[in-house]
């Protein structure tokens, strides 16, 4: 665990020594602020559910902007060789980078606190429900991050890593959404809802933490961790 945290610290130091982290968190806060204000002042709805459903959608763009550099930059600059020849395992490298991105996602969620305080002031929201939704959002962020990392490890170009990650996440999120299901034959609905990340978040956003949804997120994470490990081996075999 110590080595994982060493990698996490290194990553966070790099994020905060450049404008990346500040811009990403700032843009997120701005989008959340605008969306929430519109809900409250235009639509007269003082609840967080719509906001919670909106966050995974904007993360489709924001998280890949964060993860795109994680490995792509190391590959481009050759520093992956530095990292991989230190006494750390590949799993510690992946997990260290994963945690650093999760910390940034956590900071992003902290910027939603003013919205939470406002809703508390205007109404009487269920705290348990809200806490479940926040936990669900961290699960969604985890899946997005590990997918972003897997793509980043397979590309030396950050922009390509960003585009592919966003595209993949969009498909994964939207595949089980109601609007998408409308144009798909009914016999495929069940499987698409099973695959779709958004469909698994719907009940969490309502405050219901179903073990099947949690299992889904964990399965996707483990699978992507395995793919990332496999990509590492590919690099070590190919020598690029």
């Amino acid at each position: 665990m110590k080595q994982t945290l060493n990698i996490t610290k290194k990553e966070l130091r790099e994020y905060f020594s450049s404008p990346v982290a500040y811009i990403v968190i700032g843009v997120f806060a701005l989008m959340i602020g605008v969306y929430f204000s519109r809900n409250v002042f235009v639509d007269n709805q003082a609840n967080l559910r719509k906001l919670f459903e909106f966050i995974p959608l904007i993360w489709i763009i924001i998280i890949p902007a964060l993860t795109m550099r994680s490995f792509a930059e190391e590959l481009k600059n050759g520093t992956l060789e530095v990292l991989m020849t230190l006494p750390v395992t590949k799993l510690q490298i992946i997990f260290g980078k994963f945690l650093s991105n999760l910390v940034i996602a956590f900071f992003m969620l902290l910027t939603t606190l003013p919205a939470f305080i406002t809703v508390n002031y205007l109404g009487n929201p269920d705290i348990g429900q809200t806490a479940t939704a926040y936990l669900g959002l961290l699960l969604v962020a985890s899946v997005y991050i590990i997918i972003g990392l897997a793509i980043s490890l397979n590309s030396k170009n950050q922009i390509i890593a960003f585009i592919i990650s966003s595209f993949l996440l969009a498909i994964l999120y939207l595949v089980g959404e109601e609007d998408v299901l409308k144009v798909i034959p009914a016999r495929y609905h069940q499987i698409m809802e099973f695959i779709g990340l958004g469909a698994h978040f719907r009940s969490i956003a309502r405050g219901v933490l179903d073990s099947r949804d949690v299992l889904y997120y964990i399965s996707v994470m483990i699978l992507t961790f395995m793919i990332t490990l496999f990509s590492f081996n590919k690099i070590q075999n190919k020598g690029k």
Binding site: Q3, S17, V82, L86, V88
Partner: protein, 304 residues
Amino acid sequence: MIKVKSVSKKYGDTIALDNVSFSLQPGVIYGFLGPNGAGKTTAMRIMTGYLFADSGSISYESKDLLENKLDISSKIGYLPENNPLYDNMRVDEFLLMINNVKNSDKDDLKKLAVECGLTSVLKKEINELSKGYKQRVGLAKALIGSPEYLILDEPSTGLDPNQKSEILELIKNVGKEKTVLFSSHVLSEVESIADELIIINKGEIVASGKASEISKKHIKGTRIIVESDANLNSFREKLVGNKSIMSIELSSKSKTFNTYEVISTDPETASIDIYKTAVKSKWILRRLNTESNNLENLFKQLTK
């Protein structure tokens, strides 16, 4: 002891290493020589566990590298080719990060910064440093944790002559207790600090051992350089029967003078014979000198 045993590696159809074997003893500085693309960097990358070999094995004190990667990595100090560094980090942050990962003493880090001449730039971002300072940071990184094995891929690249001699002196000093393998294109610096040489060409080890032993074993004859107005045919005709001369080759040609490379088993006798023949044949002799079998000649002959 590091043992590289029958290691082969291919990049697509290109053979980078072909059944390479050698071993490195503690307390010895090994110069790793070879032309560009000979396989030096690939060999070093496999020795540090960054790359997988297609076949063969690497062992450190009889422990297989891949099976004991974490343990062995903590004992290796590695300076990769082109010295990749985290440019956005400050020098002290970068060295501290490596120090933490290697779990070594913070006080040693301060000493190392002094030894590598980095104290004045510790608070600077790496991207603000000159190439020479970056190279020092890379070397300091490799030396963190006082590793038993040092693998340095062209450690003196980008350094000015003063920095170069300081760094070489540093390697020489640390090499007294460690196993050091360093590659370089600058033969004079290899000659100045390496105890033994490993020469690689086209993915194969062509020679290894002390420079004098390699010379004896691989180089037959001494090179004599002759510059004369004699044309190749008459030069060959009049000298080729000489017992001490093994071969004559035209190495360069100008308007008036030709330069010949004469390989001889007895350079003293051959030089006298060349001189006498020149006088007799009324050739102008502008240069006649015997070259010692230095590293450059050795390298040229073994990597042709």
